[in-house]
């Protein structure tokens, strides 16, 4: 076994004590503004804060957004999570400007010096695919425990969307606009600040929106190590104590915060992009902020502390009732949930994990693989492969043989040399020998580090999750593409699912199915189901109307049109959706480790517990490796002539 993680740890042990004082200094320096913002937000009486939030909502959207904001504030107060919410908000308020500033600087540099582009893109790919838990460990070693580490991790995690949007926005400034600026006599500095930047501003604000969402998501995850009084910690600890009523209540707070943050930042982005109607002017918002502050002072000085908080005791009573109700619900329908769990387990999970040979027992499937049956299975596979080979499709033949073997032995017992060779062959076929070498070297490195079992677990969980969410998502997308009403109903659900921090998806899964692989699967599917819905619907709906008219006129049936025209034409878009699904599933893998899996994500999580930086990084990089290879494979497969349509690049993790 290659002690790569050991080496990393050795290096870290040598380097960390030397540089630690500097990083601790940064940590201390950052904790000052963080404490200040936290104290200020907690000091601010809730009516004043609520007024500020509503003013921001009024500036970003219309009356409806204000109503949502007000409802959210009321909910948080009633659920008695005000202080926790404010603590989380303080982290976000500090992390977002850090990420935005860093992202802006990096993006502008990458745009200004295009030769930096590949380096920056590779770095972004890594930042977005390596699970944040993995770099939490070195951060912990360098910065020490505490909320500041969460802040720094969030800032790092939230940089990539900003960089991508800055690069995209600057590149997309029409050359005529820049030329018009030059012909107006701008010097280079004027040209950038007065022409290029303002023209790219709407895209930059989209970046701010995505960065805010990423920061919020990460702040909540970072609670795992921080453990100070914020909303992520509340959810985590109530989940650990199996108080599901409590975890739903606090999870809803996160959901509401995410929705508000998304709508408000996106509202300001849209506002800049041109829409103006029905929104408060910037000056009015400022006035309202000032009024809120004044109100805050008044309330603080004339009312005793805490007098304004609604009674938490009443809420606690209801929470207990809710807890009991949820537990009773799960217990009453235990048979149903068990049936669902077992169905998926036997139909999908087991065949992939231990193969037909392992799953076919009298206890599981009611029959045994006799030698005769095995021979039949082998003959059928060979016949299929032979037929494919004879008809000139040798790639299909290879695929059939590999899939047949895989299904027979299961991923766990699948011989790894075949796996490495097969993957390298695929890479060679679609992208040439360089990628093949990269793939082979990467897999061998994972093998050498003793992570093979974990890798297989990850692949298997990921494959099942992608298949499931692909099937469900494609069906929903197909339905939404054929009916406007369904489309209108599905869209807000997708929006909401995409806005949620990944953490939230664990709550319902855990509630109904307890700890285990299946729970992880549900959480991953919930998170990864949005891209296939979106992309399938978009792809099918945006097939060229002229082509559709032409084939309708030819006299095709609706089914023929779908199968022969719309699906093939929409395929590139759908494949992008598949790519996004895989990325979403992989990024959820690390979070899902919290509910007990045995994959690479769990390795990272375990390493986090032991503060084993080497192990965490190696396992994290392995996840990134899977993500990057599958991303490149799919993009190569779609073909070089097809540019992704989604705003900010291929690895943007499904956040639109």
């Amino acid at each position: 076994m290659l002690p790569l993680s050991g080496w990393i740890n050795a290096v870290a042990d040598a380097v960390v004590p030397v540089v630690q004082p500097y990083f601790r200094a940064v940590s201390t320096a950052l904790s000052v503004p963080m404490q200040a913002i936290r104290q200020a937000l907690i000091w601010l009486p809730w009516p004043a804060a609520a007024l500020m939030i509503c003013a921001a909502a009024a500036g970003a959207g219309g009356v409806r957004l204000v109503a949502v904001a007000a409802a959210a504030v009321v909910y948080v107060l009633l659920a008695d999570y005000w202080i926790e919410a404010m603590n989380t908000l303080a982290l976000v308020i500090l992390a977002v400007p850090l990420s935005v500033a860093a992202g802006f600087a990096i993006g502008v540099m990458a745009w200004r010096w295009p030769q930096l582009g590949p380096v920056v893109t590779a770095a972004l790919d890594l930042m977005q695919t390596v699970p944040a838990f993995a770099y939490l460990i070195p951060l912990l070693l360098l910065f020490g425990f505490g909320p500041v580490v969460g802040l720094i991790a969030s800032a790092i995690y939230a940089i990539p969307p900003m960089v991508r949007n800055v690069m995209l926005g600057l590149e997309r400034v029409p050359s005529e606009v820049t030329e018009a600026g030059l012909m107006a006599g701008c010097n280079p500095r004027q040209s950038f600040w007065h022409v290029t930047l303002p023209t790219a501003l709407p895209q930059l604000l989209v970046g701010v929106n995505q960065t805010t969402m990423a920061a919020l998501s990460m702040v909540i995850v970072a609670a795992i190590i921080g453990g100070f009084q914020d909303i992520g910690w509340e959810v985590l600890s109530s989940m650990r104590k199996a108080e599901f009523g409590q975890s739903i209540l606090s999870g809803l707070v996160i959901a509401l915060m995410a929705i508000l943050a998304d709508r408000i930042t996106r509202g300001f982005a849209d506002r800049e992009a041109g829409g103006a109607g029905g929104r408060l002017a910037g000056r009015t918002i400022m006035v309202m902020f000032a009024v809120s502050l004044g109100l805050g002072f008044l309330l603080r000085f004339f009312l005793a502390g805490g007098a304004l908080m609604p009674g938490g005791d009443v809420t606690r009573q209801y929470v207990t009732v809710l807890n009991q109700w949820v537990l009773a619900l799960v217990q009453d329908h235990a048979a149903l949930f068990a049936a669902i769990k077992n169905g998926v387990l036997y139909a999908f999970l087991l065949p992939l994990r231990i193969g037909v040979s392992g799953a076919a027992t009298p206890y599981l499937w009611g029959f045994v693989m006799t030698p005769g049956l095995i021979a039949l299975y082998g003959v059928v596979c060979a016949a299929l492969a032979g037929w494919a080979f004879v008809s000139g499709r040798w790639r299909l033949a290879v695929f059939v043989i590999m899939a047949g073997t895989l299904l027979f032995t299961g991923l766990q017992a699948f011989p790894w040399p075949v796996f490495v060779l097969g993957l390298a062959l695929m890479a060679y076929q679609s992208m040439g020998w360089k990628m093949a070498v990269f793939v082979a070297a990467g897999t061998c490195l994972i093998l050498a580090n003793g992570l093979w079992a974990a890798l297989v677990q990850s692949l298997y969980l990921c494959v099942v999750a992608v298949l499931l969410s692909g099937l469900i998502g494609a069906a929903l997308g197909l339905w939404a593409a054929s009916s406007d009403r369904v489309s209108a109903a599905v869209r807000p659900v997708c929006d909401a699912l995409q806005t949620m921090p990944q953490f939230v998806f664990l709550i319902p899964a855990l509630m109904f199915f307890k700890v285990g692989e299946f729970t992880a699967l549900i959480a991953i599917v919930l998170y990864a189901v949005v891209p296939p819905i979106r992309y399938v619907e978009h792809g099918l709906r945006h097939v060229d109307a002229g082509v559709m008219e032409a084939v309708t006129q030819i006299g095709t049936t609706p089914w023929q049109r779908l199968w022969h025209v719309r699906l093939p034409l929409a395929l590139p878009v759908i494949m992008l959706g598949v790519n996004q699904t895989i990325m979403a599933a992989l990024s959820m893998l690390a979070i899902a480790a919290l509910v007990g899996t045995r994959d690479l994500g769990q390795q990272v999580y375990v390493a986090l517990g032991k503060a084993d930086a080497g192990m965490g990084l190696v396992a994290g990089l392995s996840i990134a490796f899977i993500a990057i290879v599958s991303d490149r494979l799919i993009h190569a497969w779609i073909g070089s002539g097809f540019a992704p349509e989604d705003g900010a690049g291929s690895l943007d993790g499904g956040r639109g």
Binding site: P174, E176, V177, E179, A180, G181, L182, M183, A184, G185, C186, N187, P188, Q190, H194, V195, P198, T199, L201, E272, G274
Partner: protein, 389 residues
């Protein structure tokens, strides 16, 4: 216009910061020095404003020097360049634009006309050749000289308008003056004046996205003229507009030019537009200028089959003007007069009552009926033309 002198005389700081260079800052007001090029004077005596000699633009050359020999523009050598993977977008372009002239460059898409106009303003650096503005080498101007020059001497209108989406109409038009460092009151007054000239009063505080295409291009025109440039570049300014608006904008353009007397380089892919607006037309094909001449010259004596096929469908009677066919009077001048720039379609009915000749107004030249009828008879579509009359 009245304020233009003030605007022009204000020194931009950065040209002061670079006192070393050739002295572009003085050049905008001095008359051209003696030109060393072939036709330094136009037929009507106007001076050469912008002169372009053997200009090449080769894309995709990387660090290599292209063209290898700027003197060799033979078809074979250009083909060899294309074979080697570089794109010769402009091939050996030479022409003069005279002060106050409308010089139209016409070509299909991909013919290199947009690249050529960008070489003239150095938005694109030419690969080889010489561009002289008022007798001084434009290609030798430093970056800061160029900024100063664009501020005072050049204006440009773009096909897709190139407006700044975050600024109002007023701010867009005043943008060049703001970049020059003018105070708000000053640029705003001038911008209002320009907005009035293009007929957009009342829309000062609209954003570009709230305007129609025609209105947006009016803003583009007003902006390009805000600093009162001597040179006016228009890159397919009306191509993105629908036909009726295009026609209206062409009339507007001619009206403005009557007032302003700019030196104009105008790019279009529409031959009818070229003939309608141009004093002289240059026709481009595959990076090369194949013919330069007045519209009538091009219609009557196309240089090659390509040009001939182009002008085939143009209504000759609407392109050729009275002055194009006029001859020095041999005998006594007739009393009946005709405007020099009247097109034949307008003049023709005057001959139907048997009039033999018309005098060109204010000149000692005449237009004889027999010349006009000869021309019509020689036209390929003569029957149709006669029938139409």
């Amino acid at each position: 216009m009245r304020e233009s002198g003030n605007l022009g005389s204000k020194q931009p700081e950065n040209s002061r910061r670079h006192p070393t260079h050739t002295g572009w800052r003085h050049t905008t007001n001095i008359r051209p020095r003696a030109m060393r090029v072939a036709d330094a004077k136009a037929p009507d005596g106007r001076a050469v404003k912008l002169s372009c000699r053997h200009v090449w633009k080769v894309f995709g050359a990387g660090g290599r020097a292209y063209p290898p020999d700027p003197g060799d523009s033979s078809a074979a050598s250009v083909d060899a360049m294309r074979q080697s993977g570089v794109i010769p977008a402009v091939v050996d372009a030479s022409f003069d634009v005279h002060a106050g002239e409308i010089f139209v460059i016409m070509g299909l898409s991909g013919s290199g006309k947009s690249t050529l106009i960008r070489c003239l303003s150095r938005l694109i650096e030419p690969s080889a050749g010489q561009v002289m503005l008022d007798g001084q080498d434009l290609l030798a101007a430093s970056r800061s000289d160029l900024v100063a020059l664009r501020r005072r001497t050049m204006g440009m209108v773009f096909q897709s308008f190139g407006l700044l989406p975050h600024l109002t109409v007023l701010e867009n038009v005043g943008f060049p003056l703001r970049m020059h460092g003018n105070a708000r009151a000053k640029w705003e007054a001038r911008a209002r004046e320009m907005i009035a000239q293009v007929g957009l009063e009342g829309r000062e505080f609209a954003y570009p996205s709230q305007l129609s295409g025609g209105q947006q291009q009016r803003v583009g025109i007003a902006r390009s003229l805000a600093a009162d440039p001597e040179l006016w570049f228009l890159d397919e300014p009306f191509s993105a507009l629908d036909p009726l608006i295009r026609r209206q904008m062409q009339d507007e353009f001619l009206r403005l030019q009557k007032m302003l007397h700019k030196t104009i380089v105008f790019i279009t892919h529409d031959i009818a537009e070229a003939f309608r607006l141009a004093d002289r037309v240059a026709i481009m094909r595959a990076g090369r200028i194949v013919q330069i001449g007045r519209p009538a010259e091009i219609v009557l004596t196309p240089a090659d089959d390509y040009v001939a096929r182009f002008v085939e469908d143009t209504p000759v009677l609407r392109v050729i003007r009275a002055a194009d066919l006029a001859e020095p009077a041999s005998g006594p001048l007739p009393d009946a007069e005709v405007e020099a720039d009247a097109v034949l379609e307008q003049v023709l009915p005057r001959f139907f009552d048997g009039t033999a000749a018309l005098r060109i107004r204010g000149e000692a030249r005449t237009l004889r009926a027999s010349r006009v009828f000869d021309l019509i008879r020689r036209m390929p579509s003569a029957d149709a033309a006669m029938a139409a009359l």
